[in-house]
């Protein structure tokens, strides 16, 4: 798995690519929590995620809850087919805010 963090339009974008599984989810978790400490508006781009398991999903849940408790934003964008089916299985597809892209998020109103 590789990742890329960029700032765009007032959001902090984390692009994840590859497999988020038991070997990589600790890294993803740390990355997200580090980002959230700066209290940004965080968008996680899952469009290039080819595989995600329960530990990966758990990391996303933790990130989302932390963002809620500190009043910042946390959303998923461009969820890949692989990630979407796993989120559905976990019944979390209705829990996370999910957008197709950054553009769609921007249409939805300002930060």
């Amino acid at each position: 798995m590789t990742y890329l963090v960029e700032e765009k339009d007032g959001f902090l974008l984390v692009h994840l690519e590859g497999d988020v599984d038991l070997s990589t989810s600790p890294e993803v978790r740390k990355l997200m929590l580090d980002c959230l400490r700066k209290k940004p508006q965080l968008l996680i781009d899952l469009s290039q995620v080819s595989y995600i398991d329960s530990s990966g999903v758990a990391s996303l849940v933790e990130g989302y809850q932390l963002s809620k408790s500190q009043g910042s934003e946390f959303a998923l964008i461009g969820v890949s087919e692989a990630a979407r089916s796993v989120l559905q299985l976990a019944r979390l597809d209705k829990v996370f805010p999910i957008y197709d892209s950054l553009a769609q998020r921007l249409q939805h109103g300002s930060i």
Binding site: L33, A58, V61, E62, Y64, Q65, L66, K68, S69, R91, L92, K94, V95
Partner: protein, 270 residues
């Protein structure tokens, strides 16, 4: 149809029950006729197992009544109820075979308790029932040595050993693979044919229900959604019935906030 065919062996009227303060069954009405296969359906927590326990007089209703052969269960004396129960055969979800007895002794148990028959007669009768459920040759095995399907069949043999008028099944296909469960359904139908018994089956398996039922009662959160023939239920325009038939669609409505809270409760740093 003659009057005979419509005679109700079990009548449930306005049955209400609670578990603690939670209402489990809410004004359930139902009658089961002589010789029919009635399937009780519903998702988990719909109250279907509780309804079965009431039909078996294992639980007492909070209000309403259950009549067996026209008489309120509550009005039967202990002795009458025991006599009545000799006419009822029950196959529990996990078989409920006596673990300390082998297959044959399990099947023979009701005969040994209730009859004065010679032990040889009892053993022959038990083996005949084992033959019916295709378990001949397994008499000596202990319940722990049987597979899931065999346990259910042994339990069925025990349930029919007294030649009952009523047969009750709790989730006959639970935990079985489709082929074995279809076999068991066949067996239930065969028995109904041969012994003219009334059959009550609690199940959440659609395939099985449609295969064996004369009529189906669908419960949802303790209330009766529909009672009718297989076709009536299939063609019902009630949305909840359709959801149940198409399953998954609605099986759990997730409250996002509550779900997230459950997942992250008591975690460090949140």
């Amino acid at each position: 149809m003659t009057d005979q065919a419509f005679q109700a062996v079990i009548e449930v009227e306005d049955l209400v029950t609670y578990y603690g303060t939670r209402k489990i069954l809410d004004r359930v009405n139902l009658s089961i006729r002589q010789g029919e296969v009635m399937v009780i359906m519903g998702g988990s927590g719909s109250g279907k197992s509780t309804l079965l326990r009431h039909l078996l007089a294992l639980n007492k209703p909070a209000s309403g009544s259950i009549r067996l052969y026209g008489k309120d269960i509550g009005k039967y004396s202990t002795r009458e109820l025991q006599t009545l129960r000799k006419r009822m055969g029950v196959s529990f979800q996990n078989g409920a075979l006596f673990n300390s007895l082998n297959v044959e002794d399990n099947v023979a148990f009701p005969l040994r308790e209730h009859t004065q028959l010679d032990d040889n007669t009892i053993r022959i009768m038990s083996r005949m029932k084992l033959e019916v459920v295709n378990l001949a040759g397994f008499e000596e095995l202990m319940p722990a040595q049987l597979s899931g399907g065999m346990i259910k069949r042994a339990a069925l043999a025990r349930a029919i050993v007294m030649d009952p008028d009523m047969l009750f099944f709790d989730e006959p296909s639970a935990g079985l693979d489709p082929v074995v469960s279809a076999d068991l359904d066949e067996l239930i139908l065969k028995l109904r044919e041969a012994m003219q018994v009334s059959v009550v089956v609690v199940t959440h398996e659609l395939d099985s229900a449609f295969r064996i039922a004369d009529r189906i009662i669908v419960l949802d959160k303790g209330k009766v959604l529909i009672i009718g023939t297989v076709d009536e239920v299939k063609n019902s325009d009630n949305q909840r019935v359709q959801n149940l038939l198409n399953r998954r669609a609605e099986d759990v409505e997730v409250d996002p906030e509550a779900y997230l809270k459950r997942l992250t409760e008591n975690l460090a740093g949140l």
